[in-house]
Subunit: 147 residues, 2 copies
DNA sequence: CCCAAGTAGTCAAGCTGCTTGACTAAATAG
DNA sequence: CTATTTAGTCAAGCAGCTTGACTACTTGGG
């Protein structure tokens, strides 16, 4: 029983790695070749309402400095924009640019493309169950990069 | 439907990240403080019958050079040993040392400690189903580091 | 049997993404 | 209205990976 438990990590990590690789490949195939998977995690946080550098740093579990230079890179490449923060003149609100949104849509398409076969293989019932089970396991909140 | 599909990656990656963090913490708590999660992936490959540097490199999806210096580090720290390869004088067989085995057992304990609550939360039936579903999804084979 | 080509591994140099440390500007507390 | 905290950036350093070049051994075709 305990022995059986131990192959769950392997399965989980395998699935996660496959997913990340496939989405990254799909995004590149759609023309966004200057992004790494890690950027996707930033986009995920920014796509809601934007975020400050500090919030992004916490979300990605990295230092503010690292987040800052990641933002700088995304600004240079045209995926995000730095706007003055409406309520705090020290802070800046980082939001997706039109190009950033286009890339986000591409990522979603790529994700669905990968997930579709999974969904078909499992069937709607098992799929719902899988999602429910994972929901109980995963602590909701920040989406950490894992590579 | 498609929209619903898109939270699967989030759940999966969250669960994977939580798992990795918890196991890493558990291993450290058991006294192996000089190892990173990435080393665990190497151990997983070596624990079977050992492996050559080249095999390890492929397993970890990195260059031979990188694998070589990872092995060098593990040798220095006493977790693995380089043995002459029985069938090829160019190659060396990398195997776990007693300390390496102790660490592997510690990692298993830590993993079970994390997985136990998951198993309890889901119940044996759903757990079996989860494992079966993940098996269909994950392409078996190499266990890639994802961080 | 031998030489040419291929393979296992290491050495060296370089790059990238992160860290720690030091600083400026703005907000907030007393 | 000063003292402390907070948001962000600049700069330097480091860790883990890469590419390139090399040696030692193996393998296959004359």
């Amino acid at each position: 029983m305990d022995r059986d438990l131990l192959d769950l990590p392997v399965l989980l990590l395998n699935a996660a790695a496959a997913l990340v690789d496939a989405i990254d490949a799909g995004v590149r195939a759609r023309g966004f070749t200057d992004l790494r998977p890690a950027h996707g995690f930033a986009f995920a946080r920014l796509s809601h309402d934007g975020a400050t550098v500090g919030q992004l740093a916490e979300h990605l579990s990295m230092t503010k400095q690292a987040a800052s230079q990641l933002v700088e890179e995304l600004v240079t490449k045209g995926y995000v924009e730095r706007r003055p923060h409406p309520a705090d003149a020290r802070a800046r609100l980082i939001v997706l640019s039109p190009k950033g949104w286009a890339c986000t849509r591409a990522a979603d398409e790529a994700a669905i493309e990968v997930l579709r076969p999974w969904a078909d293989a499992l069937g709607p019932h098992r799929l719902t169950a899988l999602r429910a089970d994972l929901s109980r396991i995963a602590t909701p909140g920040r989406l950490r990069p894992i590579w």
